[in-house]
């Protein structure tokens, strides 16, 4: 049995056990789809795209489809801690195809402060009901960092003024799985940047259960949905990297699949914003692009239904899905002297010795060779003109 067969079997078992649970909703997915003017073909196409995104073989598509049909068995609780609501906003921007938000419609969203109708006591009651009625079954999604200084009192929620950290412990205790949505919940985020006045931390530094990090500022909604589907499908948490990020989404560097990679390889760089290279869409490395150090799928998924993304819009990647990027990647519009491509911008135009260093760190010999060839050509041209 190869590993995919084992995985397939595991998923089948998980789905079978899920299907025995009672649904929170009466309408099967087919009826929901019909009411929303989506046919089965749309649905299967969507399932296939999610399957591909999760880096699973094509024959897993029916399993993904089954998993989504069973998604109504899983209630969701979404907590807001020290945050800006950008991750929630990202989520409501999803929907091409419209089925993505349908999934969230279909998954029972029991508590979400930005979207829920109830306020105050009634809102708190919804949370308590979900925690009690769906103990061990709900997925907990956290948006925002956890302020821990001053006994956590930099954030209180509810009529009893419970601290964010207390509420997190309470909600996490009975959760089936915990996802940190965004860089703040994953790693502390902006408020955890030096000097971190509120002692903000990532969720996994505060609670002792496994947490899947879905970082990004904000993360692409596809990554949020994909992480959920994976859990429903396999009943387990996905393969993760050293920072607990799902490998299927955060396994490659921005640089690996960048649309401007060819210009990097050819040594064609934007020298100042707005120059000829900028108009042509050349590489932004010298303008501080952190794509070579950042693991995420933005270069493939882009944002707002593939409309654009930072590098597409001529601004370098700032590394927002990496831990502590505000402190380690800044200044954001300058290359990092201490990082892997150290000194490349400074020496690239002068001598070829850096070539060897750069090659050694695995950027690729052809890339660097062409980089210098082109760079020197450009310099000559500039000198002549």
């Amino acid at each position: 049995m190869n590993s995919y067969d084992a995985l397939f079997k595991q998923a089948r078992l998980q789905l079978d056990s899920l299907s025995k649970l009672s649904s929170l909703k009466e309408d099967p997915l087919e009826v929901m789809l019909e009411k929303n003017h989506l046919d089965r073909r749309d649905f299967i196409k969507w399932a296939a795209s999610i399957t591909a995104m999760l880096a699973l073989p094509g024959h897993f598509t029916p399993l993904v489809a089954d998993a989504v049909k069973l998604a109504d068995r899983l209630p969701l609780v979404w907590l807001h801690l020290a945050e800006c609501t950008g991750c929630s906003e990202s989520l409501i921007r999803t929907d091409s195809p419209t089925i993505d938000s349908l999934i969230f419609d279909y998954v029972s969203l029991e508590y979400h402060e930005t979207l829920m109708a109830a306020s105050g006591w009634q809102a708190e009651e919804n949370l308590e009901n979900a925690i009690k009625n769906y103990a061990g079954r709900y997925i907990l999604l956290i948006e925002g960092g956890v302020p821990t200084a001053m006994n956590g009192q930099y954030l209180t929620i509810g009529a009893q003024a419970r601290t964010g950290v207390d509420l997190l412990h309470h909600a996490a205790a009975s959760a089936a799985a915990i996802f940190s949505i965004g860089t703040c919940a994953s790693f502390g985020g902006i408020q955890a940047a030096a000097p971190n006045p509120t002692g903000a931390k990532g969720v996994d530094k505060v609670i002792s259960k496994p947490v899947i990090n879905v970082p990004g500022c904000p993360p692409n909604a596809k990554n949020i949905v994909g992480t959920l589907v994976y859990f429903i499908l396999f009943g387990t948490l996905p393969a993760i990297d050293v920072y607990s990020r799902p490998k299927w989404a955060y396994g490659n560097r921005i640089h690996d699949n960048c649309e401007r990679r060819g210009h990097f390889d050819a040594g064609e760089f934007v020298e100042t914003f707005g120059d000829g290279g900028a108009k042509e869409g050349w590489c932004l490395y010298k303008q501080g692009c952190k794509g070579p150090y950042t693991f995420n799928n933005c270069s493939v998924e882009r944002f707002n239904q593939h409309t654009n993304w930072p590098i597409g819009a001529g601004h370098g990647c700032m590394g927002c899905s990496e831990p502590n990027f505000w402190d380690t990647m800044g200044p954001l519009e300058k290359p990092i002297d201490s990082h892997l491509l150290m000194g490349l911008n400074a020496t690239a135009d002068k001598i070829g010795t850096t070539l060897l260093t750069a090659t050694a760190i695995g950027i690729g010999a052809h890339a660097v060779a062409s980089l210098f060839a082109k760079s020197n050509d450009r310099n000559n041209e500039e000198e002549q003109s």
């Binding site: 929170l24 009466e26 009826v31 009411k35 929303n36 945050e83 800006c84 609501t85 950008g86 991750c87 929630s88 990202s90 409501i92 921007r93 419209t98 029972s108 969203l109 979400h112 402060e113 930005t114 979207l115 829920m116 109708a117 109830a118 306020s119 105050g120 006591w121 009651e125 302020p147 001053m150 954030l155 209180t156 009529a159 003024a161 902006i190 408020q191 940047a193 030096a194 000097p195 509120t198 500022c217 904000p218 914003f273 900028a278 108009k279 042509e280 944002f303 707002n304 239904q305 409309t307 654009n308 993304w309 930072p310 597409g312 819009a313 505000w326 800044g330 954001l332 519009e333 300058k334």
Partner: protein
């Protein structure tokens, strides 16, 4: 004996807000308190960093009015360094801002504020055929209100409601007597609620064309913009225009019509005809249409008197921390501000829902400071922007407001209400969407002869710089102040819209717009205070914006000159 009502969390807003009111035996609000319950300290974090990072970092203050703080941070640094971006960059920034407002106000009205006006359970009782006809009363060309469409919407919600598990719609105040729409009107609005979910995606795409992504764009730099490739692409330009037309169409045919409908249905509902305790209004310039020409002008109005508009004198702005969780003795001007946390928390008390932690109004009770202009509290936001421009005789605003008043049969005074505040946000959206095309055309015209998008600059580490941005954001007037030394940010401060509106009382017991708006309100059922939510949501709270920190430690920034409120817009 008065009774205390605590509402925490206030949902369908950005951030963490608590509202407390005291009602008398007739359930009329006697006193109200507004408390922000989260502090993050972002401006403190900005100290010592590269000034070019100020925009991207301060943008993380808020993901709802995303872009506002980005632009404010970038332009404050530009002001300090004396950098003027090329006209193309200014126009693209304005285009982004127009796209932002067209997104933000639509989402606020339908998805955050809408459920205060629309009873979705009531919509189940509607007759779709009747509702479809009803829609023509409020516009000549209704959208998403065909009988078949309304039937489909009703079926969808029926299925949802019959499950007993309403998800995000559970446990709300459905059936409250102050819901005034008929079942048919509720169904029309509900259909638009769903349609708006779709349209807001288009609006976000429209923004992302030149902004990289939404929320949290990434295409501005000190000196200009980076999306030059998109700006020069005819395909991208027309993509913006076609998406703009879709969103504008929705604003004209649904948003406008629904507010007309609300004016008709709620015109006699007492609980939305008050909500105006502070009648002072302040607003800044906004939206570049063409070289040196802005859509909105700045000014202030005192005591609701529209016959006179005053210019803003920045030295009259002070912040008081008597009831905010910071140390401090006397009110300070923003550039002299000191922020030193002094958390005193809540006390045990009784409420209509039972024992709870409550505000001690004699002590400090919020992370929001209390800004004052010449010692008085001021409201900021779309209503202020409309009133200032109406009073100044800004033609596009006067025409739009008058045409709305004529259509609804309401007097100008109706603007000074909760309903008026909600209507003003729609009117502002309407004016912006009607005029954004002018910005677009100016950009096309300018590109023909000028393709520059960036002004080069240098930061001299041996020099000291200081500068500011003041303008409008979707929730009102926003200001950022920056001081640069040794090539790094030495001090940073933001004074934002929700601070003006949500601040606590000050040393002289003068109360701010949120608190003042609730006094005198009669609540049908204090355990289900829908009326309070409706008024607070009409301000469009954005709490993480309003809680700012500056650790200036007495550093003197008095050299700031804010002679005019120019520089465009930003929460």
């Amino acid at each position: 004996m008065s009774k205390r009502v605590v509402i925490d969390p206030i949902t369908r807003i950005e951030g963490h807000l608590r509202i407390e009111v005291e009602v008398d035996e007739n359930n009329v609000v006697q006193k109200a308190y507004s408390s922000s319950t989260l502090w993050r300290g972002i401006e403190l974090i900005l100290k010592g960093r590269d000034p070019r990072d100020a925009g991207l970092m301060s943008q993380r203050i808020c993901g709802v009015c995303t872009y506002s703080h980005y632009k404010a941070g970038v332009e404050a640094v530009e002001d300090a360094l004396g950098v003027t971006p090329p006209l193309n960059a200014q126009l693209v920034r304005s285009l982004l801002n127009e796209s932002l407002y067209m997104h933000d106000h639509v989402v606020h009205f339908y998805h955050l504020h809408g459920l205060d006006w629309v009873d979705i359970i009531s919509a189940l009782k509607a007759d779709p055929a009747k509702a479809s006809k009803e829609a023509f009363k409020y516009t000549d060309l209704p959208i998403a209100t065909g009988e078949d469409e309304l039937k489909a919407v009703q079926e969808r919600v029926k299925g949802f409601a019959s499950k007993g598990s309403l998800g995000p719609f559970a446990n709300a105040y459905w059936g409250n007597k102050t819901y005034k729409f008929t079942p048919e009107q509720n169904l029309i609005a509900l259909s638009h609620y769903l349609k708006a979910l779709e349209v807001q995606r288009t609006a976000a795409q429209m923004f992302a064309i030149f902004g990289a992504k939404q929320p949290h764009p990434q295409s501005l730099v000190v000196g200009g913009i980076t999306s030059v490739k998109d700006m020069l692409s005819p395909a991208r330009l027309i993509e913006w225009k076609s998406k703009y037309e879709i969103v504008k169409d929705f604003i004209d045919r649904a948003y406008y019509a629904d507010v007309v409908m609300a004016a008709a249905a709620y015109g006699t509902e007492e609980s939305v005809l008050g909500g105006m305790g502070v009648k002072n209004f302040l607003s800044g310039d906004a939206f570049l249409l063409s070289r040196n020409k802005n859509l909105f002008e700045s000014g202030i109005i005192k005591n609701g008197d529209l016959s006179k508009v005053y210019e803003i004198e920045d030295q009259k702005i002070e912040e008081d921390v008597t009831h905010a969780w910071y140390k401090g003795e006397k009110p300070l001007q923003p550039y002299d501000g000191i922020t030193d946390p002094d958390y005193t928390g809540f006390i045990d008390g009784d409420t209509v829902n039972g024992p709870a932690k409550i505000i001690n109004e004699n002590d400090k009770y919020s992370w929001v400071k209390a800004p004052r202009y010449d010692g008085e509290s001021y409201e900021v936001g779309p209503l202020s922007s409309m009133l200032v421009n109406y009073a100044k005789g800004n033609k596009v605003v006067v025409d739009t407001v008058n045409s709305f008043l004529k259509r609804t049969g309401l007097p100008v005074e109706a603007l000074f209400t909760t309903l008026g505040r909600t209507a003003a946000r729609m009117l502002q959206t309407k004016v912006i969407s009607d005029n954004a095309i002018t910005t677009f055309n100016s950009l096309i015209e300018n590109i023909k002869s000028d393709q520059s998008t960036y002004t080069q600059f240098e930061i001299d580490p041996n020099k000291e710089y200081k500068g500011r941005f003041i303008g409008e954001a979707p929730r009102g007037t926003l200001g950022h102040w920056v001081r640069i030394k040794n090539g790094l940010i030495e001090n940073y401060q933001a004074v934002v819209p929700t601070t003006w509106n949500a601040g606590p009382r000050d040393a002289n017991d003068i109360i701010g717009p949120y608190e003042a708006s609730l006094v005198g309100l009669k609540i049908e059922d204090p355990t289900k205070p829908l009326e309070v939510l409706r008024i607070i949501h009409s301000f469009d709270p954005c709490m993480s914006c309003s809680v700012h920190v500056m650790d200036i430690k007495g550093k003197d920034l008095t050299n700031f000159k804010i002679s005019t409120m120019n520089g465009g817009t930003a929460c």
